[in-house]
Each structure stands twice: as structure tokens, then as C-alpha cells.
């Protein structure tokens, strides 16, 4: 009887996959797929496009495995690849990021706008809809930072903007997202009410 037990350690799997072990490679791909899919989905929003993007990114991962230099973690490297693939897709579709106007640099009002009130009533499961309300540049920055777990220099390189701009976009994007979603206590009350 042939028995085989694969390690859960990504580094062990990675080493084996790079030696040509397909079982290890498959385990490695399974371990990163869902998070890569989340990055693609949050970047592209369309589920079909996100699935295609994830698949293309995973192919890029496999083809680039021999050149992976280990400077970042394997997971981060995969996230960067799927983010790059998603940005490529956005550029290919001509969906240029929405330019953020000067007025959006002003501190946000503490009074919820009518649109924000309606969004605040959304369940957390609808976060995709709320995320879509962010200016695209803010949304991309938040997704790359908080979903893909990329650091500021990596995001800056991907987006082709200065690091300070990335920090600004992430901060403002998070602030808008928090405001649109409401504070934690409000969310808890809302969930308890739903239950």
C-alpha cells in the first residue's frame, strides 16, 4: 500500500514543489487559492472575471516557481502575482482608476450622507457592495493592503505611485470603509437584531 503524508508547512511544500513534486505543488496551490481568489474578487468585483484572473495568476505562479527568490513569503508572492494579474485585467479593460479630486482630501463629514445611511443598513455580507462605493484608487489600495497583505513599497510599485500616496489612499480608504459600514457596536446590534 502506498501511503503519503504531505506536510502542512508551506516552506516544505514549496521546496518539494520546486523539485518537481506535483502532489506538493497541488497542496501548495490549494493552500493559497482562496485568498488569491479573494484578492481577485475584491479587485475586479465580477465573480467570473475574478475566477479567470485567479486561474491565470495560479498559472503564473507555477511557471514562475523556479524563479521565486524567497525574498518575500510564498503567500505574499502569490498575492502580488494575483494583484498584478488583476491590475493587468483592469488596464486591459480600460477601467482606469477614478481620479480622486482635491475635495476628497478634505476630512470626511461626521454626518452620514443619505447614501451612507442606506449603506450602513447593509449586512456585513454585502461588504462587496460597500467596497464598490469607494473611489477605485482607495479600494485598490485597501484591497492590496488588507486583503493581499502587501506592504506599502510593493503597492506603490504595483500602482506606480509614491509610497506616501499609497499610505494616504489606504488610510482614507479604510476611514471611508469604516464609516460606510458603521462602528463595531452598531454592527453587533444590527446582527443581533437580524438573529
Amino acid at each position: 500500500m502506498v501511503r503519503r503524508r504531505l506536510s502542512d508547512d508551506p516552506e516544505v511544500l514549496l521546496a518539494a514543489a520546486r523539485r518537481g513534486d506535483d502532489d506538493a505543488l497541488e497542496a501548495l496551490l490549494r493552500s493559497v487559492h482562496d485568498r488569491m481568489a479573494a484578492v481577485a474578487r475584491r479587485m475586479l468585483r465580477d465573480p467570473g472575471d475574478a475566477a479567470d484572473c485567479t486561474q491565470e495568476a495560479m498559472i503564473r505562479v507555477v511557471r514562475g516557481l523556479a524563479g521565486f527568490d524567497g525574498r518575500s513569503s510564498f503567500t505574499t508572492w502569490c498575492h502580488r502575482i494575483v494583484a498584478t494579474t488583476a491590475l493587468d485585467e483592469l488596464r486591459r479593460r480600460g477601467r482606469r482608476p477614478v481620479t480622486v479630486s482635491e475635495t476628497e482630501r478634505e476630512p470626511m463629514s461626521t454626518e452620514p450622507a443619505p447614501e451612507q445611511v442606506s449603506l450602513d443598513a447593509l449586512a456585513l455580507a454585502d461588504i462587496d457592495s460597500v467596497l464598490a462605493r469607494l473611489p477605485e484608487e482607495f479600494r485598490q489600495a485597501v484591497v492590496l493592503s488588507d486583503v493581499a497583505d502587501l506592504d506599502y513599497p510593493s503597492i506603490a510599485e504595483l500602482l506606480g505611485v509614491p509610497i506616501g500616496t499609497v499610505k494616504s489612499r489606504v488610510a482614507r480608504g479604510r476611514a471611508q470603509l469604516r464609516e460606510l459600514l458603521g462602528n463595531p457596536s452598531e454592527r453587533d446590534e444590527r446582527r443581533m437584531g437580524e438573529e
Partner: protein, 227 residues
Amino acid sequence: MDVDDPQFDDEHTATLPDDVLHALRSVEVDELARERAITAALAAAPQRRRINPTPLLGVAAAVLLVVAGAAIVLPRAGGDDAEIAIESAADTAASDEMQVEAAEAPEAELMVEERVASDEFSADEPAAIEAAPAMDDTGEADTQATVDDGAETPAELFDEATEALAGIQSGELKPPATDCVMMGGGPVVITVFRGVEVVLFADLANGSVTALATSDCGFVVDYQPAP
């Protein structure tokens, strides 16, 4: 006008609450899409080597070992040919009483140690070699192609690999440059086996040698001498 604030101080930038982060990172993944993506990615891998514990593929793995132990050289017209050859031999292997054991190597969880009872399958069995003659374009057996065309038996390959490995370990030789990779072993020499240029991988843990075609890194032969 884009926001460009190089002096932006993010020291006090609030992170998102855990439940929001969790929601952001959790998307409903279609099972079919996941399998499709993984399958496509695996298909894009430059070289494939799989040992699957499921019964059906386990038989295929057993066949692989039977073939290697019997020193049957698979036709090297392409990787597909090898797979077909393995499939066609599956029924025969299923009826064999040959024992195939795999144990996890203690020093590496991923290492699969395979032991073949090779008493019944001599590596130097000439009949086995003749069972897979090279074929020409017309489908006729080309018995002349095997003459003076590199090593003829896996045992000869093993000797070559051992000699090359000793040279590498003593510093006299350098490992050959190759794009082929093999789990558990490093490349030791590029040579010719029955007219096919191959790169030999010596697996110290298993005491075996594996030959991959340099043209496409396809599997040619795996050999482990009887203890």
C-alpha cells in the same frame, strides 16, 4: 488631480476591525472554478511527477515501479506514450503479487520511500528490454537503433550515476546544468540511454537513479538495484 502626499503620516492610521477584515478576505469560491484553476496550473507545470495514494493511481505507481524494476525502457516518442504504456500495463500489474511499500522518510516528511521486491524482475533481463523496441516511422521495430547508442540497461545507468556522483562529491566534476528537476535527487550527469539523451538523478535516500529525457524532462527510467 490625484492624491500625492509623500509626507503622509500613517502612524495613527486605524486598521480595519477584525470582522471587516475577515469579510474582506472571505469570498464565496466556486468549487468548480477552484478545481479548474488548480488543474490548469498543474498542467502548466514544466515537469510532473506524482505519486497518488488513491487505489487507481496507486496501481499506476506500482506499474511504474514494476516497469523500472524490470528495466523495461518506455518508448520515448513523447510523454504521452509513456502514460499510455503505463495505463496499458495497469491490468497486468493489478494481478501481480508484487509488494509495493512506501514509508515516510524520517528526515523529510515529503520523502516517499518505495521498496520493490525485485527478485522476480531482474534489471538485466534481456527479454524485458526487447519487449519495448524502438519503432521507426512505419511502425516497424528498429532493432538496430539500440546498438552502440549509450547505456543499454538501467544497471549501467546506475553505475554511471554512481561514478558521476563520486566525482561531484570529490570535487572533480560539477553537477550538469539542466532545467529538469526531480524530487529527492540532484542531477549528476547527462548521458545517453538507448539513443535518448538523459539526465541522471541520484537519489541518495533511496539508493536509486532516475533518468529524465533532456529534451522534455520526461520520465525514461527509474532503477533501484536489489539489496
